[in-house]
Structures are given as C-alpha cells and as structure tokens.
Amino acid sequence: METIPFILSILFGAAVLAYLVGKFNYILKVGVSIVGLIWAGWLFLGLQGTLSSFTFKMLGFDIIWRINPLSWLFGMIIFGLAILTAIFSGSYMKGKERVDFYCFAMCITVASMFGIVVSGDLLSFFFFWEIMTWSSFLMVIYYRYEAQAAGLRYFVMSMIGAYAMLTALLIVYAQLGSFLFDVLSAGWSGFSLTLQIWLFVLFVIGFAVKAAMMPLHTWAPDAYTISPAPFTALFSGALSKMGIYGLALLFFVFGAGKLASSVITIQGVSLPGYILAWFGAITALLATFKAIVQDDAKKLLAYSSIGQLGYIILGFSLSSSMGVTAGLYQAVNHSIFKGMLFLAVGAVFYRTGTRKLSEMGGLITRMPYTFFVVLLGIITVAGMPPLSGFTGKWLIYEALIEKHLIFLAVVAFGASTAAFLYLYRIIFTIFLGQRPKRFDEVKEVPWMMRAPMLILALLTVYLGFYPYQLLDLINQAQVYMGIAPFDLSHSMLFNSYGNVSTITVMNIVAVVFFIVFILFNTLYKRSRKVGLKDIHTSGEVPGEEINLHYAVDFYQPFARGVSIFLKRSVSKIYASLADNLEGLFDVMRYVYTGNGQTYALFVVIALAFLFLVKDFLV
Amino acid sequence: MSGTIVAKWRRILQETGKTMSRYIYSFLVFFIFWVAFTTSLQTDELIVGAVVAFIMAFYTGKQFSEGGLSNLSFRKIVFTVRYLFVFVWEMIKANMDVAKRVLSPKMPIDPGIVEVPTKLKSNIAKLALANSITLTPGTLTVDVIEDKLYIHWINVTTTNPQETFGEISAVFEKYIKEIFE
C-alpha cells in the first residue's frame, strides 16, 4: 500500500478508534492514540529522502500527495511533538472527562497537519487545512465553560484566513485550471502584477492567521491559554508552524518570491517581502511587550510564541538564503522550546491547579525536573548561547544585517532583549521566591510527563552543540525550494571572524548563569510586606497592604511605558467591529417584520421590479 | 286477547303501510324529477334514474313526505290545479301592485308588521301558505310562530288579526288546507 495514504489512514483510524474504544477503557484510548502516532511517525521517518507520491482524482480535480525535503522537515516537527505531547497527555489527562474526545481531536489534528505537509495541490491543502481548523477548535473548546468565546474567536479568525486562502486558490484555479503546486509554480510568473499582488495578499492573510502574525493574532493568546496544556504545546509548536509552512510554500514554491524581480525592491528585498518583514518585526516587538505584563503563565508563553513566530516570518520575508535558513531553523527550534515550556507550565498546572504567576513561587524544590526544563527553555527562548535558540537568533540578525536592514535588526534585537524580562519572570515567580503554604505538599509530575519534557530539553542542548545536522536538513529543503543552500561557513558564527565553538560558549554561559542565579536567590529570597507608605514599590503607591512579589506589578513602570502600544488592543477593535456589524444586521428586522401583509407586499414589489427590468432579463 | 293482538298487528301493518307509502311516493317523485332532469326516456337513463331514486327514497323518503301516496288523490290534484290558477292570478295582481308602487314617484306605502292567525297544522301547509303570501300583494312573511304568521305589509290597512286574515291569507288557506291536510 502507498505509504502516505496509509499513514493518513492510521492517523484517522486511530482517531476514530480512540473515540470508540474510549467509552470503555482509559488506557485503551490513550494507548490507541499513542501507538497510532508512533506507528505513523515511524512510517514517516522512513520517507526521509524519498520522493514518495500518491495521485488520484476527486470530483475531476487532480490530487497529489507527496513528500519532499521541506514537507519532511515540517512533518518531523509534527510527529516529534505529537508523539511527545501524546505521551505527556497519557498522564496529564488521566481522570479528566471526555478523554476519548480529546484523543479523537488530537489524532485528527495531527492527521490534518500531516495532510497539509504532504499535499501537493491546493485542494487537498485546503481540505486538510480546514480539518485542522475544526479539530484544533474542538481542542480549544475542550474546557467547556470558559472556552467558548476564545474558541469562537479562534474559529472565526481561522475562517477569515481560510477563506482568503480559498479565494486565492480558486483564483489560481480559474487562471490555470489546476490546483497542482507544480502548475502554479510554473504559472505564477504569467500572472499580471495586480493579480500577483492580490494572490500574495490573500495567501498571506490565510497563512498569517495560523502563524498568529499581528494584527491577525488576536485569537492566539486566549486559544493557547484555554486549550489543554499538552495540546497547547502541539498548538504552538506544530500547528502554528503550518502558517509558516504555508508562507514557505507561497514564497518559494508557488513563486511569490519571484515577485521580487518585477516590483520595487528595497535593499534587495522585494516590496511585499519588505512589508512582511516589518509585520514580522512589529509582531515580535509588540508580542513581547504584551507578554511582559501577563500574569497567566500560558498567556505569557502565548504572547512569547507570537513574538517568536514574528521572528520566523521576518526571516522568511527576506527571501535570502540566510534569511530562509534562519526562519526554518527558528521554526524547528521554536517547536522544541515552546513545546517544552508549554508542557512544563502544564506540569505545574497539573500539580498546583493554577497558572497565575502571582499565586505561585518556590516550586524549585518541589518540582526540580520541571524547573530544569523551564530553565533550559527560557535560555533557549532568550537566544542565549549555548542552547539552540542562540543559533536561530544569530542567524536572523545576520540575515538582516546582510541586507543592511539595520533598523529592523535593531527592532528584532530590542524585542529579543525585552523577552528576557518576561522569561526571567516566569522562572522566578514559579520556581523561586516564596512558596505559598498550600504548595508545600506539591510533588514532581509523573515520569510519563517528565520524559517528554526532558527529551525536548535535551534536544535543545543537543542542537545547541550540534546544529549542523538540522542545518543540513534545512539546506535540503532549501534546495527543493529553489533557494541556494546556506553555506554555513558564511555565517558570522562560523566564518572568518573566528569560529565560535558552541561548546566553549556553552561553558561560559553556564558559569555566568549560575552566578546570576545565586545572586537572585540570595538577594530576593524573601518577599516582604509592603506598608501603605512604603515607597519601595517602584514609585507606586499601593492601594492596600499587599504581599509584594516580583510577579505583582514588578513591571508596572515598564507597562506604563509601553502602554501606548498596549492600550488599543487589536482584539478589542475586532470585537467592537464585530459587535457593530452584528448590530447592523438588525436592520433585517425591517424586512422580516412578522407582518404577513408586508411579506406579500414584498412579493408585489419584487414582481413590479422584475416587470420594470424585464428587458434586461431577455 | 287475540283481539288486541290483531289490533296490534293491524296497527303495525297500518304504520308499515303508511311508511311504505311515504317511501313509494318519494320514489315516484324522485324518479319523475330524474326524468325531468334528463328529459329522456332511454332505457339506460331510466334504469339509472330508478336506482338513484330508489337510493334517495331509501335514505330521505321519510322526511321528504308526510302524506305519502295520499298526496296523489284525485281530489288533491284538482284542488292543486285550481289553486294554481288562483295563485297565479294573485301573483299577477301582486306584481301589478308592486309595479305601481315602484314606478309611482311618491311611492304610496305605509309599511308595518302585522299578525295573521292560521288554522293550518302541518308544516308543509304553513310553508305553502307563507310562500303564497310572500308572492302576493304587498305582503312578505317574516316569520311563522306556532299558529301565527307575521307579515310585513307594505300598506297596512288594519292590524286586527281577524281582518288581516281576511285580507291577506283567507284566499289561499282554504285551498292549501285541502291540498296538504
């Protein structure tokens, strides 16, 4: 049997089976989904380097499912993260209700993501894209009571994106008579400039929603926060990457990157790319600001995620060899570290029942493994050497500088620095500081949850030392995408300015880190009561006696500083827009008045109207 | 003892005979109407007519006629014919009267409702009387309650029941009594 359809069958089958057997036995349903994922992942692994493809016709449309280096790269992200989160879920979801439903949606999501990366035509791409949307929607609304608004927002934004994409791909079909990527990449350059721009914009909207690019990100913080922790890891780690994958397709496979040759370029970057780069940079910056002021651990990570995706977009939009490498590298990297951070926060939630930073503290002794994971995670996010994050960020700065986009580089760097503020906060407020009494009995999570986190954590370490293997895979993908493979020796990291040994860097940083760590521990060991007249609260006059904590109002001055960016919440704008629009629909009350005679009058008017325009109907 | 039985049987037979006569009378009337409707004497029409008349007589014969075959006695037929002439004459008079009133510019009328007693007992007789009155000079039967007719009279000359009887219904009542009672 063909491998690709077989993998899809396994995944969908696992979903259905998990749902069906889920009625009887917990281990069975979790087992079915884990086994299904591993089996599928194993088969997928075997596809590396092959060009397996499967074609058929549906409703007269040509459909092709195939594997190539690019899709393999993203497939790896999907399966790696999916298997780990599934294992994590095995323990995490125990005792929760509707696990059958959870397993079902999880497997469907994975299957659809896999479907997306193997699609060789726009039709099946869209088909799987939509499945992904609804299945992940089911996950977002898993926690019934709070989730509805967030879920709806997620779904509507996704629909807007999907329909923009649909319009684009239908226009493509109208032009070319085919949905095949190959046909499109051959035909793109034949489109008029206006059409190219339109298609570009529509596709970007479609992908940017999933990639949570500002201003289309508004669904993400709530959706990430509200969905079950293991799934959030998959959500942020893999699902949002589908948007990135789409952008990669758009730029390099469909040929939108070629737009560069025909329109204005700014410093060697095509205008659309340039604009997109700015979107990416602003996303990175604003999301970071937003993250800083969050009190909910998952929300914080969610904004962080948005920021990171901004970096990736920034890399892609440059369309340069180094930029793409940076983007792809950071995509993989982000999947790993954001996956582990979300799992870790999930683990904490699993034990403490809260995600509020202000309520936690001092868990380092109770949950040392989790602490370790988070620690490695934030180092990676911050892009500090020696862990994998360093390579990614470094590549991005380099790519920007290479294009002489200094200002963008400054913005990106600024965002990266600011990121440290929230990252510091997450480790400090959860694991350090004073531990509330009620968490004294908290235990470390079971091994089934510990293992996936640790595997990911070790992966960041490994990549920090040996990024070459990954970069090699990326280069293969780049060849497929028609981009010159990135010559590692051209990076500042590895080039003539002097080879920086990642191992050396690692050692230096480890020492520095521990010093900082000890300093923090000794200086801010205890929190203290703040009296009403105490001025040692960063200039704030407390409204009441409070337990001062770094989690609380620590960044208040900062928050005030950036408030100009934060005040006008995009999601509020959308909400009021939607409300006003919906309110506008009330004009229909004047149509459906409930008066039968009015309806009859409409009929008469319609008839009169038709009589009037009858000459146009001939 | 046996006398009572015989009486009883006689009564039953009489009753049955009376009922039967009503059915047969109805059948005949219905059949005649059928022939009138079809205005045809073809066998198939007659057969179908007989069937229809039979069915209708079976279901409605009893209520259709009170008198049964006795309605067909020679005497009654003679009176009917005589009555018809009287009636037609009265009706023509009535119409001349109406014409006069309608056409005269002043419309010499003085209407009111008066009471007219009647000695007729059977409903069908009352109907015949009422209709006759309605169709003749300036009178219209508004209602019949027991043995009194209430007549809208276009030009009231008297309200005394005895006199109204003489003026309005006496002519018809004697014929109708003969025909229907």
Binding site: Y592, T593, G594, N595, G596, Q597, A600, L601 | -
Partner: protein
C-alpha cells in the same frame, strides 16, 4: 378585451385586499377574488368569437363551432384548488381567532423576523 381588463382588475383588487385589509376574513375573500380573476382570464383566453361550448350535445355541432376546451378544464381544476385553499385558510383563521380573539391581522404578529 374587456374580459382581460375585468379579470386583471379583479386580481388587482384581490391583491389589494390581501395587502391592505386588516380583517383576515377580508384577506381570505381577497384571495378568492384573485382566484376568480385568474379563472376569468383563463376562460377568456380560450374564448373564440362566435363559438360555443365544447360539448357535442347535438349532431349538428362540429369541432369548428367550439371554443378551446383546455382552459375550461384548467379552470375547473383551478377552482377546486381555490376552494381547497380557501377552506384551509378559513380554518387557519378560526384557529387564530381561538388564540388571539381577534381577526385583525395587525395584532397577529408574534413571529417577528
């Protein structure tokens, strides 16, 4: 010609009643007026000058003497349908009256948009 005018006028008057009258019975009557108008129109479309009813009731009649029988057949059907609809309309009105105790259609608009 006059039949066309009459029939269309009937239809329009009926529709006018349906659109404007407040009493539901009158609205139903409006519907029957419309029906009559349509039926008259149908029959007049079948009419042929100086021709007679399409029944071979005596042997002197030939096909050439008769008007088109089809519209009459159609009208027969249309009438029956009209009766059926009217009957049903009246029973619905009775039901409405039971609930609302009024025949004023303006007072019967619980179901808004």
């Amino acid at each position: 010609m006059i039949y066309y005018v009459a029939a269309i006028s009937l239809i329009l008057i009926g529709i006018y009643a349906v659109l404007v009258k407040k009493n539901m019975i009158k609205i139903v009557l409006g519907l029957t007026l419309i029906d009559s108008g349509v039926n008259i129109l149908l029959v007049s479309l079948g009419y042929v000058k100086d021709k007679t009813a399409p029944i071979f009731s005596n042997p002197t009649l030939t096909a050439g003497d008769m008007v088109d029988p089809v519209p009459q057949a159609l009208v027969l059907t249309a009438i029956v349908i009209g009766v059926a609809v009217t009957a049903l309309a009246l029973s619905i009105v009775i039901r409405i009256y039971d609930h609302h105790k009024t025949l004023n259609i303006n007072k019967i608009r619980e179901l808004k948009w």
